[in-house]
Symmetry: C2
Subunit: 421 residues, 2 copies
């Protein structure tokens, strides 16, 4: 493949592969289109991927770049942080708890700044450099802020990062440490996003999720490729995916479809289950009401990384849930906390609130009987628990003792034994 240009998702008008994101004719969003090289056979293509580096650049034939950055190994020089190739873990203990046969956890918290945003930023930054930009910028709910600031530090690019002022302190500190220009905006993410759209018209900067968004969004597809490759070139039966803007959710489906079309992956398009926090669930609400578009909401949830009240890809997400026989569910903040605990206790993976949303949604689907016991299900974990540590405070008991054996026996062992009786 190779990026051919940009195409409007609505009216199919075509544009060159530049820093454009909205159709001049109909204001629809632009998406990268590819030219498929039908000449390569499947075995050859798979070998080529397997011989690539242990990061997302192994999939660079499917990414909108003139050339992949850097040398072909996980080690790299001046090419930025090595995102991708995160573990896919067979979660037998989680499956057992939910009465399912086969559950896999795709742990994308294992990226350099511990969220899937490192993927989209890697692609956006590489394309921004190809297009001649010196400054990277973004509007963020937190994870993107970490990723842009870190990537800028690795590449030696100046960065401007815009966040809602009330973000979790962990995400603010883990952004500022990289030496970025950190701008806290008094308002919601949607306010931040509007401001960034305005600035992007005035400054010659690459706003990763505004004017170079079509390239940025393609980075999410690599998650689909990896899952398929890690399952032995097979598409799973079902995915459970958190929804903020809806971009990741829809791009995952696009990634699987591209590989199914090329014969690179076997199987059928998966059932796509979207997951939102009840305190910010415009897509889940539209789904329940049977609407085609989302009503914007004012977010109020502990899942701040999903707190987008006016999701850009909402209508496409609703389409996909429908066409894939999926659904879009919402879970409460308490269910999110329980989801975090459930995942941690059964897999050893500690996720941020967004992963609590997807885990709680998987539990809900299992309980509702929506999942056939024979299915192979992949649960997407998009970020790290250390980033939203407040969510687990006071959710477990511990002991505090003097450093003596008798204190341990009396105050720990006897209590543990008592609790078991």
């Amino acid at each position: 493949m190779g990026a051919q240009g940009l195409t409007c998702r609505e009216c199919h008008a075509e544009y060159p592969a530049e820093a454009l994101y909205v159709c001049e004719r109909c204001f629809g969003p632009l998406e990268v289109t590819y030219e498929v090289d039908a000449g390569l056979d499947v075995a050859e293509r798979r070998r080529h991927i397997q011989a690539g580096p242990q990061n997302l650049w192994r999939y660079s034939d499917f990414l909108p770049l003139d050339a992949p950055p850097g040398p072909s190994s996980r080690t790299l020089s001046r090419t930025g942080l090595p995102a991708g190739c995160t573990p896919l873990i067979k979660a037998d203990r989680l499956a057992e708890r939910l009465g399912l046969r086969e559950v896999w956890v795709k742990n994308d918290a294992a990226n350099p700044t511990h969220s899937f945003k490192d993927r989209v930023v890697a692609v956006a930054a590489a394309r921004a450099r190809e297009l001649g930009y010196d400054v990277l910028a973004c509007a963020s709910t937190g994870n993107l802020a970490n990723a842009v600031a870190a990537q800028g530090a690795a590449l030696g690019m100046e960065t401007y990062v815009f966040i809602p002022a009330d973000l979790e302190e962990q995400k603010i500190l883990a952004t500022g440490v990289y030496g970025t220009n950190l701008v806290k905006v008094r308002g919601s993410y949607d306010d931040v996003n509007r401001l960034c759209t305005e600035i992007s018209g005035e400054r010659d900067w690459a706003f990763v999720n505004v004017n170079v968004r079509p390239y940025y969004a393609e980075g999410s597809k690599t998650l689909a490729y990896e899952i398929a490759e890690q399952l032995g070139w097979r598409v799973p039966d079902r995915l459970v995916v958190p929804i903020a803007s809806g971009s990741l959710y829809t791009k995952l489906a696009k990634g699987f479809q591209e590989w199914l079309d090329l014969g690179l992956a076997e199987g059928a398009p998966p059932v796509m289950n979207g997951a939102q926090a009840l305190g910010c669930s415009p897509v889940a609400c539209a789904w329940e009401a049977g609407h085609d578009v989302c009503q914007p909401v004012r977010p109020d949830t502990i899942a701040k990384s999903l707190a987008i009240g006016n999701p850009a890809d909402g209508p496409y997400a609703l389409d996909l849930a429908r066409s894939s026989n999926g659904s879009i569910d919402a879970v409460t903040d308490d269910e999110i906390r329980e989801g975090i605990r459930l995942l941690a206790e059964t897999t050893g993976v500690f996720t941020e609130t967004a992963g609590g949303v997807s885990t709680a949604t998987l539990a809900k689907l299992a309980e509702r009987g929506d999942i056939d016991p024979e299915e192979r299900v992949v649960l997407l974990i998009t970020g790290e628990g250390l980033k939203t540590i407040d969510a687990v405070r006071d959710t477990f008991d511990s002991f505090e003792i003097e450093p003596r054996l008798d204190a341990f026996v009396d105050e720990v062992e006897d209590v543990v034994a008592g609790a078991r009786r």
Copy 2:
């Protein structure tokens, strides 16, 4: 290779490969000994490693297990968390700042619970299961607590985790979430360690860093193997490594030596620079005084993960610093904070205080002129910045504005431009 048994490091008495850690004759520490299969040629051995999984089990021929756990891929079932195969990043911007030619950052924060402890726990837990244990336990300064609790959750083993009561809240929360029996001990790490040694004599549990310590310690060698493999089967000229107990520091040298002996890696044994926090620097103090043993100290430093006042492998660390033409340095808490910033700003890697210690020590060595500009240096980063987030609070400026373009221009851009003039 294949584990042959245990040997006393002092009197060389031999023992079977069981849950033993101290010599019955002279009370010296026991270490695993291997039988080298001289029959395999180098190319064959390298191919075998390269065909292995993308985790530390690719090196299982050099680990003290009867059989490596799990299937041969990064995906895995009931075999625990996939530690190892962390990125080695060429840090050109850091090298430039320090006036050096070639610096690589081995980022072991990229492990499942974001520290190198996942390596040692993976090996200890696997061996504990081979020896028939049902309960995993540890004495920890924080990172080990995270790793043991997570590994226990992944494997479905009960765990007991003992920590000093005054540990960073991040590390406590990121341990308790896995559903472990978490015991906070009112005292220093050395008090915790003494209590655990006592309990390990009374209970039939695998304390990863007490009674199965010889197996646990071997896990650290995989860092040396990985670095050599990632550098194209070459040993670097110099390593800068944080020292707590001294185990990691000495085992790294052991790992390189094993591969040099087998011809698997090329080069010479590296210069080994140890790094301690001044507030807990028993090994650096002994080094400066020219002593062979360490005087125990009471720790007082922000680098809590290195806060071991009575380091078990102190004498061996002093030996190694001497024999490798290295040194053992100590840095202040302020230098640690500066080290964290320096690494973040130049590489995009955000490390915990321990990585601040090794980065600050590298800067000190460079400034002192101890490093030949032609050398290839590897800086070891053992843990993640999100775990000690308090260390970066108030270390950078940020802006807070209303969501309006004019506010951005007046309150951000003009200030940034002013600072540059």
